[in-house]
Protein backbone atom coordinates (compact mmCIF):
# COMPACT_ATOMS: atom_id res chain seq x y z
CA UNK A 1 0.00 0.00 0.00
CA UNK A 2 2.79 2.37 0.96
CA UNK A 3 4.51 1.40 -2.28
CA UNK A 4 1.40 2.24 -4.22
CA UNK A 5 1.05 5.59 -2.44
CA UNK A 6 4.71 6.33 -3.10
CA UNK A 7 4.22 5.68 -6.81
CA UNK A 8 1.11 7.85 -6.75
CA UNK A 9 3.13 10.77 -5.37
CA UNK A 10 5.74 10.26 -8.09
CA UNK A 11 3.00 10.06 -10.71
CA UNK A 12 1.44 13.29 -9.52
CA UNK A 13 4.68 15.24 -9.63
CA UNK A 14 5.57 13.85 -13.07
CA UNK A 15 2.01 14.53 -14.22
CA UNK A 16 2.30 18.16 -13.14
CA UNK A 17 5.52 18.55 -15.11
CA UNK A 18 3.99 17.03 -18.23
CA UNK A 19 0.92 19.20 -17.81
CA UNK A 20 3.06 22.31 -17.50
CA UNK A 21 4.85 21.54 -20.78
CA UNK A 22 1.64 20.39 -22.46
CA UNK A 23 0.06 23.78 -21.72
CA UNK A 24 2.55 25.43 -24.06
CA UNK A 25 1.72 23.04 -26.90
CA UNK A 26 -1.96 23.41 -26.38
CA UNK A 27 -2.05 27.21 -26.04
CA UNK A 28 -0.21 27.67 -29.31
CA UNK A 29 -2.41 25.11 -31.01
CA UNK A 30 -5.54 26.73 -29.68
CA UNK A 31 -4.59 30.12 -31.09
CA UNK A 32 -2.75 29.21 -34.27
CA UNK A 33 -3.93 25.60 -34.86
CA UNK A 34 -0.30 24.76 -35.34
CA UNK A 35 1.83 22.14 -33.61
CA UNK A 36 4.86 23.92 -32.21
CA UNK A 37 7.32 21.06 -32.45
CA UNK A 38 10.06 23.39 -31.18
CA UNK A 39 8.35 23.60 -27.80
CA UNK A 40 9.96 20.42 -26.47
CA UNK A 41 13.38 21.77 -27.32
CA UNK A 42 12.65 25.09 -25.64
CA UNK A 43 11.73 23.06 -22.57
CA UNK A 44 15.12 21.38 -22.78
CA UNK A 45 16.77 24.76 -23.16
CA UNK A 46 15.03 25.88 -19.96
CA UNK A 47 17.06 23.35 -18.02
CA UNK A 48 20.28 24.42 -19.72
CA UNK A 49 19.63 28.14 -19.12
CA UNK A 50 19.08 27.32 -15.46
CA UNK A 51 22.39 25.43 -15.42
CA UNK A 52 24.17 28.39 -17.03
CA UNK A 53 22.67 30.86 -14.58
CA UNK A 54 23.61 28.76 -11.56
CA UNK A 55 27.12 28.09 -12.85
CA UNK A 56 28.08 31.56 -14.01
CA UNK A 57 26.17 33.82 -11.66
CA UNK A 58 28.58 35.62 -9.28
CA UNK A 59 26.08 35.38 -6.44
CA UNK A 60 23.92 32.42 -5.54
CA UNK A 61 20.53 33.22 -7.06
CA UNK A 62 17.54 32.23 -4.97
CA UNK A 63 15.04 29.86 -6.52
CA UNK A 64 12.21 32.36 -7.29
CA UNK A 65 14.51 34.77 -9.15
CA UNK A 66 16.05 31.88 -11.06
CA UNK A 67 12.59 30.68 -12.07
CA UNK A 68 11.50 34.11 -13.30
CA UNK A 69 14.73 34.61 -15.24
CA UNK A 70 14.44 31.23 -16.96
CA UNK A 71 10.82 31.87 -17.84
CA UNK A 72 11.64 35.30 -19.28
CA UNK A 73 14.58 34.06 -21.35
CA UNK A 74 12.78 31.02 -22.74
CA UNK A 75 9.56 32.95 -23.26
CA UNK A 76 11.49 35.65 -25.11
CA UNK A 77 13.13 33.03 -27.29
CA UNK A 78 9.76 31.46 -28.06
CA UNK A 79 8.38 34.86 -29.02
CA UNK A 80 11.43 35.47 -31.21
CA UNK A 81 10.97 32.18 -33.06
CA UNK A 82 7.34 33.03 -33.64
CA UNK A 83 8.27 36.45 -34.99
CA UNK A 84 11.04 35.24 -37.30
CA UNK A 85 9.94 31.80 -38.45
CA UNK A 86 6.21 31.31 -37.92
CA UNK A 87 4.73 34.71 -38.64
CA UNK A 88 5.86 34.81 -42.30
CA UNK A 89 4.02 31.51 -42.74
CA UNK A 90 0.75 32.52 -41.14
CA UNK A 91 -1.08 32.42 -44.49
CA UNK A 92 0.99 29.62 -46.03
CA UNK A 93 -0.26 26.03 -46.20
CA UNK A 94 -0.45 24.55 -42.73
CA UNK A 95 2.12 21.90 -43.52
CA UNK A 96 4.76 24.57 -44.08
CA UNK A 97 4.34 25.86 -40.53
CA UNK A 98 4.58 22.37 -39.03
CA UNK A 99 7.74 21.60 -41.00
CA UNK A 100 9.21 24.91 -39.94
CA UNK A 101 8.48 24.12 -36.31
CA UNK A 102 10.10 20.72 -36.66
CA UNK A 103 13.12 22.41 -38.27
CA UNK A 104 13.37 25.04 -35.52
CA UNK A 105 13.26 22.30 -32.89
CA UNK A 106 16.08 20.42 -34.57
CA UNK A 107 18.14 23.60 -34.89
CA UNK A 108 17.79 24.25 -31.15
CA UNK A 109 18.46 20.69 -30.03
CA UNK A 110 21.39 20.11 -32.35
CA UNK A 111 22.96 23.46 -31.52
CA UNK A 112 22.78 22.48 -27.86
CA UNK A 113 24.17 19.06 -28.70
CA UNK A 114 27.05 20.59 -30.65
CA UNK A 115 27.97 22.92 -27.80
CA UNK A 116 27.43 20.38 -25.06
CA UNK A 117 27.79 16.88 -26.52
CA UNK A 118 27.55 15.12 -23.15
CA UNK A 119 24.81 15.17 -20.58
CA UNK A 120 25.49 17.40 -17.61
CA UNK A 121 24.66 17.29 -13.96
CA UNK A 122 22.39 19.96 -12.61
CA UNK A 123 23.86 21.52 -9.47
CA UNK A 124 21.67 21.68 -6.44
CA UNK A 125 19.75 24.94 -6.38
CA UNK A 126 18.68 24.57 -2.77
CA UNK A 127 19.02 22.06 -0.01
CA UNK A 128 16.60 19.25 -0.78
CA UNK A 129 15.06 17.50 2.19
CA UNK A 130 13.05 14.37 2.47
CA UNK A 131 9.91 14.17 4.55
CA UNK A 132 8.12 11.08 5.65
CA UNK A 133 4.37 11.49 5.67
CA UNK A 134 2.57 8.35 6.82
CA UNK A 135 5.26 6.15 5.39
CA UNK A 136 5.27 7.94 2.03
CA UNK A 137 8.44 9.78 1.13
CA UNK A 138 8.03 13.22 -0.39
CA UNK A 139 10.86 15.63 -1.03
CA UNK A 140 10.89 19.41 -0.80
CA UNK A 141 11.55 19.37 -4.51
CA UNK A 142 8.45 17.34 -5.29
CA UNK A 143 6.39 19.66 -3.13
CA UNK A 144 7.96 22.61 -4.90
CA UNK A 145 7.19 21.12 -8.32
CA UNK A 146 3.60 20.55 -7.36
CA UNK A 147 3.30 23.98 -5.72
CA UNK A 148 4.90 25.95 -8.53
CA UNK A 149 3.02 24.08 -11.26
CA UNK A 150 -0.25 24.50 -9.46
CA UNK A 151 0.38 28.22 -8.94
CA UNK A 152 1.31 28.71 -12.59
CA UNK A 153 -1.74 26.79 -13.79
CA UNK A 154 -4.14 28.66 -11.55
CA UNK A 155 -2.53 31.90 -12.65
CA UNK A 156 -2.91 30.92 -16.30
CA UNK A 157 -6.51 29.90 -15.83
CA UNK A 158 -7.31 33.21 -14.13
CA UNK A 159 -5.48 35.08 -16.87
CA UNK A 160 -7.46 33.36 -19.60
CA UNK A 161 -10.85 33.46 -17.92
CA UNK A 162 -10.73 36.88 -16.23
CA UNK A 163 -8.32 39.28 -17.92
CA UNK A 164 -8.74 41.35 -21.04
CA UNK A 165 -5.81 39.49 -22.58
CA UNK A 166 -7.54 36.20 -21.86
CA UNK A 167 -10.72 37.39 -23.48
CA UNK A 168 -8.81 38.52 -26.57
CA UNK A 169 -6.96 35.22 -26.65
CA UNK A 170 -10.18 33.27 -26.56
CA UNK A 171 -11.54 35.48 -29.34
CA UNK A 172 -8.51 34.84 -31.55
CA UNK A 173 -8.70 31.11 -30.86
CA UNK A 174 -12.39 31.14 -31.75
CA UNK A 175 -12.03 33.05 -34.99
CA UNK A 176 -8.73 34.64 -35.90
CA UNK A 177 -10.22 36.37 -38.93
CA UNK A 178 -12.96 38.32 -37.26
CA UNK A 179 -11.05 39.05 -34.04
CA UNK A 180 -9.24 42.05 -35.60
CA UNK A 181 -12.65 43.49 -36.49
CA UNK A 182 -13.26 43.74 -32.74
CA UNK A 183 -10.13 45.81 -32.35
CA UNK A 184 -7.94 42.95 -31.18
CA UNK A 185 -4.34 43.02 -32.34
CA UNK A 186 -3.91 39.42 -33.40
CA UNK A 187 -0.14 39.69 -33.71
CA UNK A 188 0.19 40.94 -30.16
CA UNK A 189 -2.02 38.19 -28.79
CA UNK A 190 -0.11 35.51 -30.65
CA UNK A 191 3.23 36.90 -29.48
CA UNK A 192 2.00 36.97 -25.90
CA UNK A 193 0.66 33.43 -26.21
CA UNK A 194 4.05 32.22 -27.34
CA UNK A 195 5.73 34.17 -24.58
CA UNK A 196 3.54 32.64 -21.89
CA UNK A 197 3.34 29.14 -23.37
CA UNK A 198 7.05 28.73 -23.91
CA UNK A 199 7.75 30.49 -20.61
CA UNK A 200 5.78 27.76 -18.85
CA UNK A 201 7.75 25.19 -20.83
CA UNK A 202 11.00 26.83 -19.67
CA UNK A 203 9.83 26.68 -16.06
CA UNK A 204 9.01 23.01 -16.52
CA UNK A 205 12.48 22.43 -18.00
CA UNK A 206 14.10 23.98 -14.96
CA UNK A 207 11.98 21.96 -12.53
CA UNK A 208 12.57 18.78 -14.50
CA UNK A 209 16.31 19.42 -14.49
CA UNK A 210 16.23 19.80 -10.72
CA UNK A 211 14.15 16.68 -10.19
CA UNK A 212 16.09 14.40 -12.54
CA UNK A 213 19.45 16.11 -12.24
CA UNK A 214 21.02 14.84 -15.47
CA UNK A 215 20.22 17.07 -18.43
CA UNK A 216 21.05 16.53 -22.08
CA UNK A 217 20.20 17.91 -25.50
CA UNK A 218 17.96 14.94 -26.29
CA UNK A 219 15.65 15.84 -23.39
CA UNK A 220 13.46 17.83 -25.77
CA UNK A 221 12.56 14.77 -27.80
CA UNK A 222 12.60 12.30 -24.91
CA UNK A 223 10.58 14.35 -22.44
CA UNK A 224 9.19 17.34 -24.33
CA UNK A 225 7.49 15.18 -26.91
CA UNK A 226 5.97 13.10 -24.14
CA UNK A 227 4.23 16.21 -22.98
CA UNK A 228 3.07 16.66 -26.52
CA UNK A 229 1.46 13.22 -26.29
CA UNK A 230 -0.21 14.43 -23.11
CA UNK A 231 -1.60 17.47 -24.92
CA UNK A 232 -2.93 15.35 -27.78
CA UNK A 233 -4.44 12.71 -25.50
CA UNK A 234 -6.32 15.41 -23.63
CA UNK A 235 -7.38 17.10 -26.85
CA UNK A 236 -4.88 19.59 -28.22
CA UNK A 237 -6.09 23.16 -28.05
CA UNK A 238 -7.97 22.45 -24.87
CA UNK A 239 -6.24 23.77 -21.73
CA UNK A 240 -8.00 21.49 -19.27
CA UNK A 241 -7.33 18.61 -21.65
CA UNK A 242 -3.60 19.33 -21.39
CA UNK A 243 -3.69 19.03 -17.62
CA UNK A 244 -5.80 15.88 -17.79
CA UNK A 245 -3.49 14.37 -20.44
CA UNK A 246 -0.45 15.22 -18.32
CA UNK A 247 -1.83 13.30 -15.37
CA UNK A 248 -2.92 10.33 -17.46
CA UNK A 249 0.49 10.06 -19.05
CA UNK A 250 2.34 10.61 -15.76
CA UNK A 251 0.31 7.86 -14.10
CA UNK A 252 0.71 5.41 -16.97
CA UNK A 253 4.46 6.00 -17.15
CA UNK A 254 5.17 5.70 -13.44
CA UNK A 255 3.15 2.54 -13.09
CA UNK A 256 4.50 0.96 -16.26
CA UNK A 257 8.06 1.60 -15.11
CA UNK A 258 7.16 0.13 -11.74
CA UNK A 259 5.93 -3.09 -13.30
CA UNK A 260 7.86 -3.47 -16.58
CA UNK A 261 11.48 -2.90 -17.65
CA UNK A 262 12.04 0.85 -18.04
CA UNK A 263 12.90 0.45 -21.73
CA UNK A 264 9.22 -0.19 -22.39
CA UNK A 265 8.27 3.31 -21.25
CA UNK A 266 8.37 5.01 -24.68
CA UNK A 267 6.70 2.05 -26.33
CA UNK A 268 3.80 2.23 -23.90
CA UNK A 269 3.39 6.01 -24.04
CA UNK A 270 3.34 6.17 -27.82
CA UNK A 271 1.09 3.12 -28.09
CA UNK A 272 -1.31 4.80 -25.67
CA UNK A 273 -1.29 7.84 -27.96
CA UNK A 274 -1.99 5.71 -31.01
CA UNK A 275 -4.81 3.80 -29.32
CA UNK A 276 -6.48 6.98 -28.05
CA UNK A 277 -6.22 8.62 -31.46
CA UNK A 278 -7.78 5.58 -33.11
CA UNK A 279 -10.83 5.68 -30.86
CA UNK A 280 -11.00 9.40 -30.11
CA UNK A 281 -9.34 11.01 -33.15
CA UNK A 282 -9.38 14.45 -31.51
CA UNK A 283 -8.39 13.48 -27.96
CA UNK A 284 -10.47 13.04 -24.85
CA UNK A 285 -11.75 16.59 -24.48
CA UNK A 286 -11.07 17.81 -28.01
CA UNK A 287 -13.71 18.37 -30.64
CA UNK A 288 -13.54 17.68 -34.35
CA UNK A 289 -12.88 20.82 -36.36
CA UNK A 290 -15.89 22.16 -38.19
CA UNK A 291 -15.48 21.84 -41.91
CA UNK A 292 -17.78 24.02 -43.92
CA UNK A 293 -18.97 22.43 -47.12
Amino acid sequence: MAYFAQQAVNAISLGFLYALIALGYTMVYGVLTMINFAHGDLFMLGAFICLLLVTFSPIALPFPILLVLVMLIIGGLGGLIERLAYRPLRDAPRVSAVITALGCGLVISNTTLSISPYSRAMPEVFNDQYFNVFGVGISTLQMLIIGVSLALMIGLDALIQKSRFGMALRAVAFDARSAPLMGISVNRIISLTFLIGTGLGGAAGMLYGMAFPVISASMGVLVGWKAFIAAVIGGIGNIRGAVLGGFILGTVEIFSVATLPSTYRDLISYSLLLVILIFKPYGILGRAPNIKV
Binding site: L89, V232, L267, I278, P281
Partner: protein, 327 residues
Protein backbone atom coordinates in the same frame (compact mmCIF):
# COMPACT_ATOMS: atom_id res chain seq x y z
CA UNK B 1 23.39 33.04 -69.40
CA UNK B 2 20.43 33.26 -71.73
CA UNK B 3 22.12 30.69 -73.99
CA UNK B 4 22.54 28.28 -71.12
CA UNK B 5 18.89 28.68 -70.20
CA UNK B 6 17.74 28.06 -73.74
CA UNK B 7 20.01 25.05 -73.96
CA UNK B 8 18.48 23.63 -70.77
CA UNK B 9 14.95 24.17 -72.03
CA UNK B 10 15.80 22.40 -75.30
CA UNK B 11 17.40 19.57 -73.37
CA UNK B 12 14.35 19.23 -71.15
CA UNK B 13 12.14 18.86 -74.20
CA UNK B 14 14.17 16.08 -75.80
CA UNK B 15 12.51 12.99 -74.51
CA UNK B 16 14.98 10.56 -76.10
CA UNK B 17 17.59 11.82 -73.63
CA UNK B 18 16.06 9.89 -70.76
CA UNK B 19 16.57 6.37 -72.17
CA UNK B 20 20.06 7.37 -73.28
CA UNK B 21 20.81 8.59 -69.76
CA UNK B 22 19.47 5.34 -68.32
CA UNK B 23 21.69 3.18 -70.49
CA UNK B 24 24.72 5.38 -69.86
CA UNK B 25 24.00 5.43 -66.13
CA UNK B 26 23.64 1.68 -65.89
CA UNK B 27 26.81 1.10 -67.92
CA UNK B 28 28.68 3.56 -65.75
CA UNK B 29 27.45 1.82 -62.59
CA UNK B 30 28.50 -1.63 -63.81
CA UNK B 31 31.90 -0.37 -64.93
CA UNK B 32 32.47 1.58 -61.72
CA UNK B 33 31.58 -1.44 -59.64
CA UNK B 34 33.84 -3.90 -61.43
CA UNK B 35 36.88 -1.70 -62.05
CA UNK B 36 38.76 0.77 -59.90
CA UNK B 37 37.43 3.73 -61.82
CA UNK B 38 36.06 5.27 -58.64
CA UNK B 39 37.44 4.95 -55.15
CA UNK B 40 35.29 3.21 -52.58
CA UNK B 41 34.25 6.48 -50.93
CA UNK B 42 32.82 7.90 -54.15
CA UNK B 43 31.01 4.63 -54.82
CA UNK B 44 29.61 4.73 -51.31
CA UNK B 45 28.31 8.29 -51.76
CA UNK B 46 26.79 7.52 -55.16
CA UNK B 47 25.01 4.48 -53.75
CA UNK B 48 23.73 6.54 -50.82
CA UNK B 49 22.49 9.10 -53.30
CA UNK B 50 20.49 6.50 -55.20
CA UNK B 51 18.99 5.17 -51.96
CA UNK B 52 18.06 8.77 -51.13
CA UNK B 53 16.34 9.10 -54.50
CA UNK B 54 14.17 6.09 -53.63
CA UNK B 55 13.36 7.52 -50.20
CA UNK B 56 12.57 10.95 -51.55
CA UNK B 57 10.37 9.80 -54.44
CA UNK B 58 8.44 7.41 -52.22
CA UNK B 59 7.83 9.94 -49.46
CA UNK B 60 6.79 12.46 -52.09
CA UNK B 61 3.92 10.15 -52.96
CA UNK B 62 2.38 10.75 -49.52
CA UNK B 63 3.69 14.21 -48.63
CA UNK B 64 3.63 15.73 -52.10
CA UNK B 65 1.04 14.00 -54.24
CA UNK B 66 -1.41 12.99 -51.50
CA UNK B 67 -0.68 16.14 -49.53
CA UNK B 68 -0.54 14.56 -46.11
CA UNK B 69 2.33 15.14 -43.72
CA UNK B 70 4.05 11.91 -42.75
CA UNK B 71 7.09 11.99 -40.48
CA UNK B 72 7.19 8.21 -40.24
CA UNK B 73 9.20 7.29 -43.32
CA UNK B 74 12.25 6.30 -41.26
CA UNK B 75 9.98 3.79 -39.51
CA UNK B 76 9.23 2.06 -42.81
CA UNK B 77 12.94 2.09 -43.59
CA UNK B 78 13.59 0.41 -40.26
CA UNK B 79 11.05 -2.31 -40.99
CA UNK B 80 12.56 -2.99 -44.41
CA UNK B 81 16.11 -2.86 -43.13
CA UNK B 82 15.52 -5.22 -40.21
CA UNK B 83 13.36 -7.69 -42.12
CA UNK B 84 15.83 -8.04 -44.98
CA UNK B 85 18.89 -8.03 -42.74
CA UNK B 86 17.45 -10.82 -40.60
CA UNK B 87 17.00 -12.88 -43.77
CA UNK B 88 20.48 -12.33 -45.13
CA UNK B 89 22.42 -12.54 -41.85
CA UNK B 90 20.54 -15.01 -39.66
CA UNK B 91 18.29 -17.20 -41.78
CA UNK B 92 20.14 -17.59 -45.05
CA UNK B 93 23.71 -16.36 -44.68
CA UNK B 94 26.17 -16.88 -47.53
CA UNK B 95 23.54 -16.89 -50.24
CA UNK B 96 23.84 -13.49 -51.95
CA UNK B 97 21.39 -14.68 -54.60
CA UNK B 98 18.65 -14.26 -52.03
CA UNK B 99 19.32 -10.54 -51.74
CA UNK B 100 16.61 -9.56 -54.22
CA UNK B 101 13.92 -11.62 -52.46
CA UNK B 102 15.17 -10.19 -49.16
CA UNK B 103 14.69 -6.64 -50.49
CA UNK B 104 11.17 -7.55 -51.55
CA UNK B 105 10.39 -9.05 -48.16
CA UNK B 106 11.64 -5.86 -46.54
CA UNK B 107 9.43 -3.80 -48.81
CA UNK B 108 6.40 -6.01 -48.20
CA UNK B 109 6.92 -5.88 -44.45
CA UNK B 110 6.82 -2.08 -44.60
CA UNK B 111 3.89 -2.12 -47.03
CA UNK B 112 1.75 -4.22 -44.69
CA UNK B 113 2.28 -1.73 -41.87
CA UNK B 114 1.76 1.14 -44.30
CA UNK B 115 -1.58 -0.38 -45.21
CA UNK B 116 -2.74 -0.22 -41.59
CA UNK B 117 -1.51 3.36 -41.28
CA UNK B 118 -3.60 4.15 -44.35
CA UNK B 119 -6.68 2.79 -42.60
CA UNK B 120 -6.08 5.34 -39.85
CA UNK B 121 -5.91 8.11 -42.43
CA UNK B 122 -9.59 7.65 -43.30
CA UNK B 123 -10.76 9.36 -40.17
CA UNK B 124 -7.90 11.72 -39.46
CA UNK B 125 -6.16 14.26 -41.57
CA UNK B 126 -3.52 16.94 -41.32
CA UNK B 127 -1.93 17.50 -37.95
CA UNK B 128 -3.50 14.49 -36.32
CA UNK B 129 -2.33 12.17 -39.06
CA UNK B 130 1.15 13.67 -38.69
CA UNK B 131 0.97 12.82 -34.99
CA UNK B 132 -0.06 9.26 -35.82
CA UNK B 133 2.92 8.83 -38.13
CA UNK B 134 5.13 10.27 -35.40
CA UNK B 135 3.72 7.79 -32.89
CA UNK B 136 4.28 5.01 -35.44
CA UNK B 137 7.92 6.04 -35.84
CA UNK B 138 8.51 6.12 -32.09
CA UNK B 139 6.75 2.78 -31.59
CA UNK B 140 8.85 1.07 -34.26
CA UNK B 141 12.03 2.45 -32.76
CA UNK B 142 11.28 1.52 -29.18
CA UNK B 143 9.83 -1.84 -30.17
CA UNK B 144 13.09 -2.68 -31.96
CA UNK B 145 15.01 -1.58 -28.89
CA UNK B 146 13.06 -4.09 -26.83
CA UNK B 147 13.28 -7.13 -29.11
CA UNK B 148 16.44 -8.94 -28.08
CA UNK B 149 16.69 -11.29 -31.06
CA UNK B 150 17.16 -8.37 -33.43
CA UNK B 151 19.89 -7.02 -31.19
CA UNK B 152 17.89 -4.63 -29.03
CA UNK B 153 19.41 -1.17 -28.69
CA UNK B 154 22.79 -2.48 -29.91
CA UNK B 155 21.32 -3.36 -33.29
CA UNK B 156 22.38 -5.83 -35.96
CA UNK B 157 26.00 -6.03 -37.05
CA UNK B 158 27.80 -8.09 -39.67
CA UNK B 159 25.23 -7.63 -42.41
CA UNK B 160 26.82 -8.69 -45.72
CA UNK B 161 27.68 -5.92 -48.17
CA UNK B 162 25.29 -6.74 -50.98
CA UNK B 163 24.09 -3.32 -52.14
CA UNK B 164 26.17 -2.59 -55.18
CA UNK B 165 26.00 0.48 -57.35
CA UNK B 166 24.17 -1.30 -60.24
CA UNK B 167 21.59 -2.79 -57.86
CA UNK B 168 20.94 0.60 -56.26
CA UNK B 169 20.68 2.22 -59.69
CA UNK B 170 18.27 -0.42 -61.00
CA UNK B 171 16.10 -0.20 -57.88
CA UNK B 172 15.95 3.59 -58.09
CA UNK B 173 14.88 3.36 -61.74
CA UNK B 174 12.22 0.77 -60.93
CA UNK B 175 10.90 2.95 -58.11
CA UNK B 176 10.69 5.99 -60.36
CA UNK B 177 9.08 3.96 -63.10
CA UNK B 178 6.42 2.45 -60.85
CA UNK B 179 5.53 5.71 -59.14
CA UNK B 180 5.50 7.64 -62.40
CA UNK B 181 3.20 5.09 -64.02
CA UNK B 182 0.86 5.21 -61.05
CA UNK B 183 0.80 8.99 -60.89
CA UNK B 184 -0.12 9.34 -64.56
CA UNK B 185 -3.13 7.06 -64.38
CA UNK B 186 -6.60 7.30 -62.89
CA UNK B 187 -5.16 5.97 -59.63
CA UNK B 188 -2.62 8.76 -59.37
CA UNK B 189 -5.11 11.43 -60.36
CA UNK B 190 -7.36 10.24 -57.54
CA UNK B 191 -4.47 10.68 -55.09
CA UNK B 192 -3.78 14.19 -56.36
CA UNK B 193 -7.48 15.09 -56.26
CA UNK B 194 -7.53 14.29 -52.54
CA UNK B 195 -4.67 16.72 -51.97
CA UNK B 196 -6.53 19.43 -53.83
CA UNK B 197 -9.92 18.98 -52.17
CA UNK B 198 -11.03 15.77 -50.52
CA UNK B 199 -14.72 16.66 -50.38
CA UNK B 200 -14.86 17.63 -54.04
CA UNK B 201 -12.89 14.52 -54.98
CA UNK B 202 -15.45 12.39 -53.18
CA UNK B 203 -18.29 14.16 -54.94
CA UNK B 204 -16.61 13.44 -58.28
CA UNK B 205 -16.64 9.72 -57.62
CA UNK B 206 -13.05 9.40 -56.45
CA UNK B 207 -12.79 6.40 -54.14
CA UNK B 208 -10.73 8.24 -51.56
CA UNK B 209 -10.11 5.27 -49.28
CA UNK B 210 -8.66 3.14 -52.04
CA UNK B 211 -6.53 6.05 -53.22
CA UNK B 212 -5.15 6.63 -49.73
CA UNK B 213 -4.39 2.94 -49.29
CA UNK B 214 -2.58 2.95 -52.62
CA UNK B 215 -0.48 6.00 -51.78
CA UNK B 216 0.47 4.81 -48.30
CA UNK B 217 1.16 1.21 -49.28
CA UNK B 218 3.30 2.01 -52.31
CA UNK B 219 5.14 4.74 -50.45
CA UNK B 220 5.92 2.51 -47.48
CA UNK B 221 6.88 -0.40 -49.74
CA UNK B 222 9.62 1.65 -51.35
CA UNK B 223 10.57 3.10 -47.98
CA UNK B 224 11.16 -0.48 -46.85
CA UNK B 225 13.09 -1.27 -50.03
CA UNK B 226 15.34 1.73 -49.41
CA UNK B 227 15.85 0.56 -45.84
CA UNK B 228 16.88 -2.88 -47.08
CA UNK B 229 19.38 -1.36 -49.49
CA UNK B 230 20.77 0.91 -46.78
CA UNK B 231 21.21 -1.98 -44.32
CA UNK B 232 23.25 -3.94 -46.87
CA UNK B 233 25.30 -0.89 -47.69
CA UNK B 234 26.33 0.24 -44.23
CA UNK B 235 26.34 -3.37 -42.84
CA UNK B 236 25.36 -2.22 -39.36
CA UNK B 237 21.96 -0.99 -38.23
CA UNK B 238 20.50 -0.08 -34.85
CA UNK B 239 17.16 1.45 -33.86
CA UNK B 240 18.89 4.82 -33.46
CA UNK B 241 19.66 4.95 -37.20
CA UNK B 242 15.93 5.26 -37.91
CA UNK B 243 14.87 8.10 -35.66
CA UNK B 244 13.18 11.41 -36.24
CA UNK B 245 16.45 12.86 -37.56
CA UNK B 246 16.45 10.34 -40.40
CA UNK B 247 12.83 11.22 -41.18
CA UNK B 248 13.72 14.90 -41.18
CA UNK B 249 16.53 14.27 -43.64
CA UNK B 250 14.04 12.73 -46.05
CA UNK B 251 11.64 15.62 -45.46
CA UNK B 252 14.41 18.10 -46.31
CA UNK B 253 15.01 16.26 -49.58
CA UNK B 254 11.34 16.24 -50.50
CA UNK B 255 10.66 19.87 -49.72
CA UNK B 256 13.98 21.03 -51.14
CA UNK B 257 13.42 19.33 -54.48
CA UNK B 258 9.75 20.11 -54.64
CA UNK B 259 6.50 18.46 -53.72
CA UNK B 260 4.50 16.60 -56.34
CA UNK B 261 7.39 16.31 -58.78
CA UNK B 262 9.56 13.33 -59.72
CA UNK B 263 12.27 15.50 -61.21
CA UNK B 264 12.18 17.56 -58.03
CA UNK B 265 12.62 14.46 -55.89
CA UNK B 266 15.68 13.38 -57.82
CA UNK B 267 17.08 16.89 -57.63
CA UNK B 268 16.36 17.10 -53.92
CA UNK B 269 18.02 13.77 -53.18
CA UNK B 270 21.11 14.64 -55.25
CA UNK B 271 21.55 18.09 -53.73
CA UNK B 272 20.93 16.79 -50.23
CA UNK B 273 23.43 13.94 -50.55
CA UNK B 274 26.22 16.20 -51.73
CA UNK B 275 25.40 18.92 -49.23
CA UNK B 276 25.31 16.45 -46.43
CA UNK B 277 28.66 14.94 -47.46
CA UNK B 278 30.19 18.39 -47.76
CA UNK B 279 29.02 19.24 -44.26
CA UNK B 280 30.15 15.95 -42.72
CA UNK B 281 33.35 17.44 -41.31
CA UNK B 282 31.30 19.80 -39.17
CA UNK B 283 29.90 16.91 -37.14
CA UNK B 284 26.67 17.59 -35.31
CA UNK B 285 26.53 21.13 -36.71
CA UNK B 286 25.45 19.43 -39.91
CA UNK B 287 22.10 18.74 -38.30
CA UNK B 288 21.84 22.39 -37.36
CA UNK B 289 22.49 23.61 -40.89
CA UNK B 290 20.18 21.16 -42.66
CA UNK B 291 17.04 21.95 -40.64
CA UNK B 292 17.92 25.63 -40.96
CA UNK B 293 17.86 25.20 -44.74
CA UNK B 294 14.48 23.53 -44.39
CA UNK B 295 13.12 26.46 -42.35
CA UNK B 296 14.43 29.04 -44.81
CA UNK B 297 13.00 27.00 -47.66
CA UNK B 298 9.57 26.95 -46.05
CA UNK B 299 9.63 30.71 -45.57
CA UNK B 300 10.91 31.67 -48.99
CA UNK B 301 9.99 28.82 -51.32
CA UNK B 302 7.47 26.54 -49.64
CA UNK B 303 6.92 24.30 -52.65
CA UNK B 304 10.60 23.62 -53.25
CA UNK B 305 12.67 24.00 -56.39
CA UNK B 306 10.36 22.13 -58.76
CA UNK B 307 7.12 22.44 -56.71
CA UNK B 308 4.25 20.79 -58.66
CA UNK B 309 6.11 21.15 -61.95
CA UNK B 310 7.48 18.23 -63.89
CA UNK B 311 10.28 17.71 -66.35
CA UNK B 312 8.81 16.61 -69.73
CA UNK B 313 11.08 13.55 -69.61
CA UNK B 314 8.86 11.98 -67.01
CA UNK B 315 5.49 12.77 -68.54
CA UNK B 316 3.68 10.23 -70.71
CA UNK B 317 3.55 11.38 -74.31
CA UNK B 318 -0.19 12.03 -74.31
CA UNK B 319 0.06 14.35 -71.29
CA UNK B 320 2.82 16.22 -73.03
CA UNK B 321 0.67 16.85 -76.08
CA UNK B 322 -1.90 18.60 -73.98
CA UNK B 323 0.61 20.72 -72.19
CA UNK B 324 2.13 21.95 -75.40
CA UNK B 325 -1.18 22.86 -76.90
CA UNK B 326 -1.46 26.00 -74.82
CA UNK B 327 1.55 27.75 -76.37
Amino acid sequence: MENIRRFCVRLADRRWILPVLLVLGMTFCVVAESTSLLNSYTRFVLTAMLVNVILCVSLNLVNGYLGEFSVGHAGFMALGAYASAMLTTCLFPQTPALFIPAILVGGLMAAVVGFFLALLSFKTRGDYLAIITLAFLMIVKSALENISWVGGPRGLAGIPTLTTLPIAFATAIITLWVIRNLIYSKFGRAVVAIREDEIAANAMGVRTREAKILAFTVSSFFGGVAGALLAHQITFINPGSFDIVKSTEILVMVYLGGIGSLAGSILGAVIFTFLSEALREYGTWRMVILPLILVLLMIFRPRGIMGLRELPWFLPRRELFNRRKKS
